[in-house]
């Protein structure tokens, strides 16, 4: 009996609510007061909704910033490519020697993750490896000058042999005189150029770059400048001290 009464009450309330809802649906769209109520209710909800508005705006502004950044990056890459092409065209017109790697827009950077004191002038480890398309023999630069070359590669890191290493021997050319020699480190931070015929008028400040005859490194990679003559042997060849363009004491990131 109680259950039936409860059921009836539910039906009565339910139908009342239904009729009210239908009534509201039928008449409220034409009532101006509804707009006022909507406005007031919206204003009241500003407080609980405020964090959501802030979070949504933050997300939208981040997305907008991200899109703008991508767009700017694409624009910068396009401009770099145009600039590189223009430099090459200009070099052709003026007869200036310029190599494509000098103007390559596709320069990537790597962070130095290890430089052991025991092999301070010989090698460093960088945080890029096979997955970043690093290969053995790849030239590594700092400040646009040759710093060394990759000696071994693992999946996510690589070892770079520095130009100051005693085992780093590459053919190089003095650009002003076209004299050929061999770049080699002496193990204590100095870089030398050996086997230059004595008495050829080599002066300090002349530019040194990798030579065409090298198989491992492409020609024209800038190395540094002649700092001065160290010795002139009885065999008729002189050794010069090189002032490397890459500061061997102050690099934390390198490029390739």
């Amino acid at each position: 009996m109680e259950n039936t009464r409860s059921n009836t009450r539910e039906w009565v309330h339910g139908l009342t609510a239904l009729i009210l809802a239908l009534f509201l649906l039928g008449v409220s769209s034409g009532l101006g007061i509804v707009k006022n109520i909507v406005d007031i209710w919206g204003a009241l909800l500003i407080i609980p909704e405020y964090p959501a508005v802030v979070m949504r705006d933050a997300f939208l502004s981040w997305r907008s910033w991200s899109r703008d950044k991508n767009s700017l990056n694409a624009e910068v890459i396009k401009l770099r490519e145009e600039n590189a092409q223009l430099r090459l065209d200009l070099a052709k017109l003026t007869g200036e020697k310029i190599y494509s790697q000098d103007v390559s827009p596709d320069i990537k950077t790597a962070r130095v993750t290890l430089r052991a004191p025991m092999s301070w002038w010989n090698e460093i480890r960088i945080d890029k490896g096979e997955i970043d398309k690093i290969t053995q023999g790849l030239p590594i630069f700092y400040n646009g000058y040759l710093l060394g070359r990759v000696s071994s590669v693992s999946t996510m890191s690589a070892w770079v042999e520095l130009i100051s290493s005693t085992s780093f021997m590459i053919p190089a050319v003095i650009e002003e005189t076209r004299e050929l020699g061999v770049i080699v480190g002496n193990g204590d931070g100095s870089v030398l150029m050996r086997y230059i015929p004595a008495g050829r008028g080599i002066k300090s400040g002349m530019k040194v770059s990798t030579a065409m005859i090298g198989e491992q490194l492409p020609p024209g990679l800038p190395i540094g400048k002649i700092a001065g003559e160290i010795s002139s042997g009885s065999d008729g060849y002189a050794t010069y001290k090189i002032d490397p363009g890459a500061d061997l004491s102050r690099f934390y990131t390198v490029s390739y």
Partner: protein
């Protein structure tokens, strides 16, 4: 209090989505869930009027014309009361899980369908269908809570 919080969460998520996605009807899921365990001797009048109030407030906030969700919510509650009331309390076990799922699905299906049916529009139907997809995880979580509570009560 729980229903007020659920209504506010639903509103909060709708603002957060910025209209980009349809938010599940958490408020109605909460009422249906409470109704399943309701043993109030006065009947389920609280559910009818809570659904009515929640619906009218939702209409005022998001539709602009009171009545759409109000009507849908009340219809859902009447269906749940009648269907669930037809099952004796001894029979309300884990075996009724599918029926509970259907009731919860109805609570997500009817309220947003009424505006689409009345106002129409291709976009409206798309939004409605999307909401049904987004509602499914919320329904499954509520189902999990229901079954967990049933098991812990030993029925």
């Amino acid at each position: 209090m729980l229903l007020v919080i659920l209504w506010l969460i639903q509103d909060f998520l709708t603002v957060l989505s910025g209209g980009g996605m349809q938010i599940p009807g958490l408020f109605m899921l909460g009422i249906v869930y409470k109704l399943l365990f309701d043993d109030n001797s006065d009947g389920s009048l609280w559910a009818i009027w809570s659904a009515f109030a929640g619906g009218i407030l939702w209409d005022l906030r998001w539709v602009g014309i009171p009545g759409f969700f109000t009507l849908g919510n009340v219809v859902v509650i009447l269906i749940v009361i009648q269907v669930w009331g037809a099952i004796p309390p001894q029979g309300r076990t884990g075996g009724t899980g599918f029926l509970v799922f259907i009731l919860m699905e109805v609570s997500q299906l009817i309220p947003p369908m009424l505006p689409v049916l009345i106002l129409g529009g291709y976009t409206g139907w798309n939004f409605f269908l999307l909401q049904q997809v987004y509602s499914l995880p919320a329904i499954l979580v509520t189902m999990y809570l229901y079954l967990k509570r049933i098991r812990s009560s030993g029925t």
